[in-house]
């Protein structure tokens, strides 16, 4: 067997590979089979919608050019009859559903920009239970957080030139992110992060479709946690920004 063609092909080649796949690949799949995988629509939450609408408020024209206008909910007049009240509430719910669907679409695009630009090669997306990471970044990562479409393939990351981003959402304003993507050193002195002027039409207050989508995606990270937004408790951790 040890030097025969069939031994090498079937035992070493296929056999050992399949054994490793079953024990290291299929086993976790089976273990987590009852954790349903969420779609992008299902992971959109109120916090994200608020930050998403904030993009429109800050930059109405670039936002409209990229994604169209987000409808605003109708106010319920005080003198409305219960019937009218019901109607307006239903219409508002339908509007809200449209906004959420839009946010999901933008999240997908934002994740693709995040991947295509290689962000995940310098920023991880998991907080380890060691080395004081939970004090710096926030709660330790849990499996449920990754069971969604936007983690296909999972964005754990392998290197941190910059900090972990899995609890980044809501920590900083949309403005901050826009300026940071346009030219990181403007808000983060000495940062070796490249600038991304192609996500803008010439100025940091004119993000284009990809730029807006990337900001949306980054603001989504960690928005599902009760601790959102997580601010570092320690003065010295927070640094100057």
């Amino acid at each position: 067997m040890f030097e025969s063609k069939s031994g090498i092909l079937f035992v070493a080649g296929i056999g050992f590979f399949v054994f490793a796949f079953l024990s290291n690949g299929l086993l976790p799949m089976v273990m987590y089979k009852d954790l349903p995988e969420k779609t992008a629509e299902e992971v959109v939450n109120d916090r994200l919608v608020r930050l998403f609408r904030d993009l429109q408020d800050r930059w109405p024209q670039p936002f409209a050019a990229a994604f169209g206008d987000l409808p605003l909910p109708q106010e319920v007049p005080l003198e409305a009859t219960p019937q009218q009240r019901e109607q307006i509430t239903q219409a508002n719910a339908a509007l809200e559903a449209r906004v959420r669907a839009k946010a999901a679409e933008v999240l997908r695009l934002g994740r693709q920009v995040y991947i295509g630009e290689g962000c995940w090669h310098c920023h991880s997306q998991y907080v380890r239970p060691v080395s004081n990471e939970s004090r710096r970044f926030g709660p330790v990562s849990r499996t449920e957080e990754y069971q969604n479409e936007l983690q296909r393939p999972v964005l754990f990351g392998t290197r941190r030139v910059g900090p972990d981003l899995s609890r980044e959402g809501g920590r900083r304003s949309n403005d901050w992110h826009a300026v940071h993507f346009f030219q990181p050193t403007l808000v983060s002195q000495g940062s070796p992060m490249p600038r991304y002027p192609w996500l803008f039409d010439g100025a940091p207050d004119k993000p284009n479709r990809r730029g807006l989508a990337l900001i949306t995606y980054v603001q989504w990270l960690g928005s599902w946690l009760p601790s959102f937004p997580y601010y570092e408790e320690l003065e010295e951790v927070r640094g100057e920004d």
């Binding site: 290291n24 976790p28 920009v113 991947i115 380890r128 239970p129 030139v161 000495g190 002027p197 990809r210």
Partner: protein, 494 residues
């Protein structure tokens, strides 16, 4: 065992076995991709020093070129150089030509298209990502992936290339399995490694590129991603590298491998333990802890196996130590083996949870990766090329001195880079754990990054020496009258 691995006359004429044009061209394009990849690496190195000359230009974005860097090395340089070496070694070892010469040429062309399309996709894909027609197609076909990279290290190849690469790998396997199947058993060690690799590589590529993208998300996809990253090194690059060592070292030392038993231990140990380790890339993630422990244990186990292989090769060198100085390819090979032992020893340490606390996510890992990919496998391939080019071109090297420069710049450069980044990684780990502001870890790394850039330039300079030397050799410029450097003069003119 086969006698053909002796350098003597073959019972089948060499011309009927080896297509020298193909071997040469595989090596040429491999070197071209190596230059491309190293330029990407230098771009990233200068970006970290805040001295990127191409700052703010979309098509030279360091983020995108970071992926071109790793993919061009794996699929452009290593794969092409290995294919060239396989086209030399397998027919000469089995005394049968490859399955189909036409198929060989087809694979050569198709593989270059795949590599170029990957580079093109990585560089231009993200720019097209938000075009309405792209978004429409993605929605219509429910494609979850981006037009550019896929988010898996070394699996960044755009999604539409994956199936083509897979078909290519199966064809490669068939083409070389034909001569192996025709040669009588028992097979020589080299062919064990090659045969297993022809099975492992397509399986690995299919697993890594298809499952985390189409079948499963989240933590379990992370486990599969870890298997993929690791298997690509362990089940694609490593068996090819060791297979070539088992082939070329006895030829050059003119004596058989020291211990057949240790060869067996080495192969079967690697085959069993290597595929079990992938999850060690993601320790302390939400992947179940018992699987993480398993990966750690099997990683340490494979380092013991590696020790037996290295001992076997140094046993072979025993009594012929002088060749380390007198024969340049042997020096490439054995320097690579020393580096291999160092990386593997490093691996046995860094894979433990204790080390992981400190060095995970840091430059330590980057140094490790460079020592493996450049210090070991690229250096072995440089040795193979140094040995084969005089035979492929039927003339001696243009400059023996440049051959030596290539070796010393590469060997010194990569080792400096390794030491520097290992140290940088420990500093970064302590900066992070001490809860200083993030910027402290970046500022503290600058000195290390400067040394790294210099080391990278040394490695690049070495490769440029080789390419210039090769260019002059190909053009038939008469060899430099520089006295005889025995290590290169020993190679003769084929």
């Amino acid at each position: 065992m086969n006698t053909s691995k002796q350098d003597g006359p073959l019972s089948v004429p060499h011309a009927a076995l080896v297509d020298e044009w193909l071997v040469r061209w595989y090596f040429y394009v491999a070197l071209a991709y190596l230059v491309l990849s190293m330029l990407g690496g230098l771009l990233m190195a200068f970006q970290l020093l805040l001295a990127n000359p191409l700052d703010g230009i979309e098509w030279f974005s360091p983020g995108r070129w970071r992926m071109v860097h790793t993919n061009a090395v794996a699929y452009g340089f290593l794969a092409n150089a290995f294919l060239g070496a396989l086209h030399w070694a397998v027919p000469r070892l089995t005394l049968h030509p490859v399955g189909s010469r036409a198929l060989s040429y087809f694979i050569f062309g198709a593989w270059q298209l795949i590599v170029l399309a990957t580079a093109g996709g990585l560089i231009f894909g993200p720019s097209l990502q938000d075009q309405p027609w792209v978004m429409h197609l993605a929605q219509r076909w429910r494609l979850p992936m981006s037009l550019g990279a896929q988010a898996l290290e070394w699996g960044e190849t755009p999604f539409w290339i994956d199936p083509l690469a897979l078909v290519g790998l199966v064809l490669v396997g068939w083409n070389f399995m034909v001569p192996i199947a025709r040669s009588p058993a028992p097979l020589y060690v080299t062919l064990w490694y090659f045969m297993a690799m022809f099975v492992w590589t397509p399986l690995t590529v299919a697993m890594g590129n298809l499952l985390p993208e189409y079948v499963v998300a989240g933590t379990s996809a992370g486990a599969i991603g870890g298997l993929f990253i690791h298997d690509l090194v362990g089940l694609f690059v490593t068996p090819l590298g060791w297979g070539l060592m088992y082939y070329f070292v006895p030829i050059m030392l003119k004596k058989p491998i020291w211990s057949h038993g240790l060869s067996l231990v080495g192969f079967w140990g690697l085959a069993f333990f290597y595929p079990l380790q992938g999850i060690h890339h993601f320790l302390y993630t939400p992947i179940p802890m018992f699987l993480q422990y398993g990966a750690v244990v099997s990683t340490i186990a494979v380092e013991l196996v590696v020790a037996t292989v290295v001992i076997n090769f140094f046993g072979t060198l025993w009594g012929r130590g002088r060749t380390f100085f007198d024969n340049l390819p042997i020096r490439w090979f054995y320097t690579g083996m020393v580096y291999y032992f160092i990386t593997c020893f490093q691996c046995a340490l860094q894979v433990t949870l204790t080390f992981q606390k400190l060095i995970h996510f840091s430059d330590w890992v980057v140094g490790h990766a460079h020592l493996v990919m450049f210090g070991v496998f690229s250096m072995w391939l440089f040795g193979v090329m140094t040995y084969l080019f005089p035979r492929l071109l039927h003339r001696p090297w243009y400059s023996q001195r440049l051959c030596e420069w290539h070796f010393w710049l590469s060997a010194a450069g990569v080792f400096i880079m390794f030491l520097d980044l290992a140290l940088a990684g420990m500093f970064q780990g302590y900066y992070w754990a001490s809860l200083q502001p993030w910027q402290a870890s970046v500022d503290g790394s600058q000195g290390f990054w400067q040394v790294r850039a210099v080391a990278g330039l040394m490695m690049f300079g070495g490769v440029l020496c080789m390419i210039y030397n090769l260019l002059m050799t190909v053009r038939g410029v008469p060899a430099q009258p520089e006295g005889s450097i025995p290590s290169v003069a020993a190679l003769g003119s084929g």
